[in-house]
Symmetry: C2
Amino acid sequence: MRSAEFDREVVLRAAMNAFMEKGYNKTSMQDLKLATGLHPGSIYCAFENKKGLLLASLEQYNLDRSEELKSIFNGQSDALSGLRAYLDSIVSECVSGDPTQSCLSQKAINEIAQTDEQAQAVLSQQCVMWQGFMKEVFSQASQQGVITGPRSPQQRAQSLIVGIYGLRTFSQAQKDPDVISGIANQLLIDVCR
Amino acid sequence: MRSAEFDREVVLRAAMNAFMEKGYNKTSMQDLKLATGLHPGSIYCAFENKKGLLLASLEQYNLDRSEELKSIFNGQSDALSGLRAYLDSIVSECVSGDPTQSCLSQKAINEIAQTDEQAQAVLSQQCVMWQGFMKEVFSQASQQGVITGPRSPQQRAQSLIVGIYGLRTFSQAQKDPDVISGIANQLLIDVCR
DNA sequence: AGCTATCTTGAATAAACATTCAAAATAAAG
DNA sequence: CTTTATTTTGAATGTTTATTCAAGATAGCT
């Protein structure tokens, strides 16, 4: 017997970055070989093929971002402060212009969900999980009395997610940090109303 | 001398559809040859290369969608009814699941704006034009007294555009028509508040 | 230490790719 | 009708692509 030499998480994060820089279709196996340091044979042995590597990267990406999400909210005194901190982090991501800070899930939704059923299923489920987390945040915010109004946590979560997706696309076309930040602030106001 | 045989608009609309179905990078020259009915040489003679064909398609797409946009608002009695009709058309687009009804500009923003400066410039300008049009709509709505409140037409236009971008991405992951429609209704309320 | 199952290596493969080009066709001008 | 400038044609080009595979290396078990 023999165990694999490479660290799966390290390899997947390297692949993630490669996919984020060029998108799935423009990222060649050559790019992935250079990014991960793995030879083609090893990639195929471990992940079956290029799409398998993407799907594995997507899972790892979701794990990493979920952790980050939780830690942002845990670092704040109440749910509303958490939302503010979270939107600040999204604005930073949008404004940085750094491809490796962009959202791999959103990139994949736009690039391949339409043509690949398997990716569509994974991405759809990730989106539902994100919704579930945000719904819980809005529930807590209501209980804490920091937000009021008739909208359900579910509705608020959906509007927030739509706003974040939109902000990320918009910021590719309009790079002015003040504009991005302004829209994000208004989004928070609307979603908490 | 000799004039071109093909109808430029027809060819560009065929290319648009091909790009919308598979995305820019997955659409091969073979696909474009079949879609347009043009031989490789003719495509290269008329549009320089594959990217040139995309850029030309993007311009034509923007012309077509701008016309559609104007006609939706012209068909309504006031600006608020226009906004309602417009968002209805966006919801239809999202819910249809038909790739040829999706937004080529948004697909291109997500797929290639990050890596291609020329495409980025074209798409950025198109986004600014769209903003300008929507800003004018919100100005009219205020003048007509159908919406009130302190937000500027510019701010409203930006929030609406972000909401539409977001809705289109969200609808790739969550296909329930009632959910999409509900989010769109709330978006209209927030943007007119 | 020796065995064996598994991983690593990287060259080889075949298909798909964007692009070119010279020959044939043809529309407009004279 | 002839000329001329331009387009159309489609096979050829050379590159890049994802994927395979047999040979070599090595970790863990006995």
